[in-house]
Symmetry: C2
């Protein structure tokens, strides 16, 4: 196998040569054999072992085993202990997902800190097929049937083309020791059932199952590629950027809003299928609710753990979710400040007269101002005396008349004086109360960017 592995690496992973490699090692036969193979071929390797503390003494014995292996091969080793159960319950994750998150985050930390080029994991062809079948039992879409990626960012899986059988045979022939994983986690239970009860039958039906399966995966990956091409084209047609909104958003920086043209979605052969593909990266889970937005009334919304989707007349508005905290933010501006940068960028400048006119600047009578000024979001009960209009108007009415969407409203910032009177609906409308009069002596120019 060493020779075959060497050739395989040369052809498929030539970039690994002379690079600093970190091997994720559990102590199981796969990762031990991967370590041994790369060691024999004189690659520049170090080991990284996670003790997830899920199997008490067994976990510690694994750690001990890996430590000794590193000594024997004189390789650097990184070790860490995780309180996986605690992390899982705190973050409401399954043990399996928690372990994966802890593990890959930690690898990326080591990589950055110690300048590694790649993390190597020992996934093999049987793992790949098992995962395919696990996804089949759980229900999946095409993404669940395209296999574990051979290369994914800086994570590389050099054994993916090899079978468990080959790996085991290599270990036995070369009298390599390893630790059996006695874990009984649910996924492990499912994986073991598939490994021991299903794969053998499939391999009886087709002794070349793994080769056949590799070809199948390639076909499905090609299908995925074509879908991605189509979705790239479609998203450029149905995703729109609302510049007026974006201007305000840019000021807050974290916020980005994408407008999705509902009419264009509905013109596609299968709106539901397209909406899924267009939005799948945004972590939505309640897809029926998402599809329902296409036909429901304005204002309805669906949240994912990271994003929000709002129906707004002929659009769905997609934005990141964490801006909701911004709603509670209030910022004070004192008389001696000539500039603020948070939550938005504003400058304050004494000027002799009004010069340029645009939406991004207002002029106020400085003598009427009461400091500290306040930058905040709107509240129910807010009202203003819009400059250029007659009298007083509820801010909610103003928003409605100006056709602000739900998101526009949330994204809007108000500049008020110390008594909470609105001076400016930023970039939209000044209030007439503090605006420049013929009698004004000291003029303050306020500019947003």
């Amino acid at each position: 196998m060493l020779q075959k592995f060497k050739e395989h690496i040369n052809i498929n992973f030539p970039f690994l040569k002379d690079k600093k490699l970190l091997i994720a090692i559990s102590g199981g036969v796969d990762s031990v054999v991967l370590t041994q193979l790369l060691h024999e071929l004189n690659f520049n390797i170090s080991l990284a072992h996670c003790n997830f503390q899920l199997r008490e003494k067994e976990s510690d014995l694994d750690e001990e085993f890996v430590k000794l292996l590193a000594q024997k091969t004189s390789n650097q080793i990184f070790k860490i202990k995780f309180d996986t159960e605690k992390f899982a319950s705190k973050n409401k994750l399954s043990t399996q997902i928690a372990a994966r998150e802890l593990r890959y985050n930690w690898f990326q930390e080591i990589i950055e800190k110690h300048n590694f080029d790649y993390v190597l994991t020992a996934h093999h062809a049987d793992d790949n097929l098992e995962t395919f079948l696990i996804n089949l039992t759980r229900g999946s879409g095409l993404d669940g049937f395209t296999g574990i990626p051979k290369i994914n960012g800086n994570i590389v899986r050099p054994l993916l083309a090899f079978s468990r059988e080959e790996i085991l045979a290599y270990a036995k022939t070369n009298t390599i020791d390893w630790r059996e994983d006695a874990s009984n986690a649910t996924t492990k239970y499912i994986r073991n059932k598939i490994r021991h009860q299903i794969l053998p039958v499939l391999k009886e039906i087709n002794p070349n199952l793994l080769e056949t399966f590799a070809k199948t995966l390639e076909n499905l990956q090609e299908s995925k590629q074509i879908i991605e091409d189509r979705i790239a084209t479609i998203s450029s047609e149905v995703f729109e950027t609302d510049f007026s909104t974006e201007f305000i958003l840019n000021a807050v920086e974290r916020l980005e809003v994408t407008k999705i043209n509902i009419d264009k979605i509905n013109q596609l052969s299968n709106p539901k299928a397209y909406l899924y593909q267009l939005l799948k990266e945004y972590n939505f889970t309640e897809w029926n609710d998402v599809y329902h937005l296409l036909s429901t009334q304005s204002g309805k919304q669906v949240y994912s753990k990271t994003h929000r989707l709002v129906k707004d007349r002929e659009y769905l508005l997609l934005s990141e979710r964490d801006f909701s905290t911004a709603l509670e933010m209030t910022f004070e501006i004192h008389e001696n400040q000539f500039e603020i940068t948070n939550p938005i960028y504003l400058t304050f400048e004494d000027v002799l007269q009004k010069s340029d006119e645009n939406k991004q600047a207002i002029y106020v009578d400085k003598d009427l101002l009461k400091y500290p000024l306040i930058v905040r979001k709107w509240e129910n009960g807010d009202y203003l005396y819009p400059l250029g209009m007659q009298g007083k108007k509820k801010l909610s009415k103003y928003f409605k008349d100006e056709k602000f969407s739900l998101l526009d409203k949330e994204n809007a910032w108000l500049l008020c004086n110390a008594e909470n009177e609105i001076i400016w609906v930023l970039n939209y409308r000044q209030d007439s109360r503090l605006s420049l009069k013929n009698t004004s002596k000291n003029i303050l120019k306020i500019t947003s960017k």
Copy 2:
């Protein structure tokens, strides 16, 4: 189950009501239960049974059983005996494929002759999952993972949402008899292994496996839909019609050539994946050879059982395969004929003088003609005296100079006289030998359409 089935039909197959239905019945539990259910619900059904004569006496007993069932329920029955093995070996098909072809062809015959609206088959959810897994063991692409279609033309599968378990339970509760299929064909062997050794384990892992699987199939069908949309767009960009070629082809009618722009294929994200999708309906099997055409020299070709693909400079030329027989066709035209319609449309007209000039008409000196004239394809050794050029030219040289593709050459027809001298390379070039001279007295105008 009867109630559930009734509702399922109302929601998913409302169009079956009051229609003339033909049930494909083997005598196995699935088709017997389907018959019973539709009988109970007073649908207008008839039965169709194929005896494939693959299991000797057993096959005859099945036929007998179905005949009795039809008597009991007073339904019309159609029966047929096939020599399946003979048909399979004659057409080089597997027994299974042969049986399927015989069966569906016969159903379509009955449907037309007796005015049925639909053929109903008894495929159920377990069949669907088994087929998915069979395709997994054999290697497949997305098409092999999108399930048996619920409705496909006039073939309808009303039990596809029901499990084998439900069907069996209904048969037992209602003391319905059926015939066990004792077949031992290879596919049957594989299917049985999957049915008895794999499905139970998967159902242990997920007791709602079939519902989960239905959702999975829906997802994969949606992916397929998106691919089809993309391919429709792409094929309109890379498939071109060569009008000059098409003109000749139309004359022969059976021939249609599609030009595939290689450069445009190569600009796609994954040329191989796209070429497969664009050509998959043309029955090619040697896909590596097909992909190789993209980069190989002109003249190379790949055949499927129905089509031919030829590399021709910057194009791949796709055409139906059976025109090769046309190459051997020679047609005689006698002096008294004023029109021929096969293999091409030609008219012969005595005229007083030359009038319109175009590629579709020539004028010859009738007194020089030797009948019968011959319409044929070109052969090695053919030569002509091109009108308007000096002297004699090999036809192969003429083709080359005029940049005829391999297909252009094959599609070209020659009109010759009885001594096999070329009169006209149809629609391209007249020969000067029989062309109109100043001395010509009797003028024949020959026109192609």
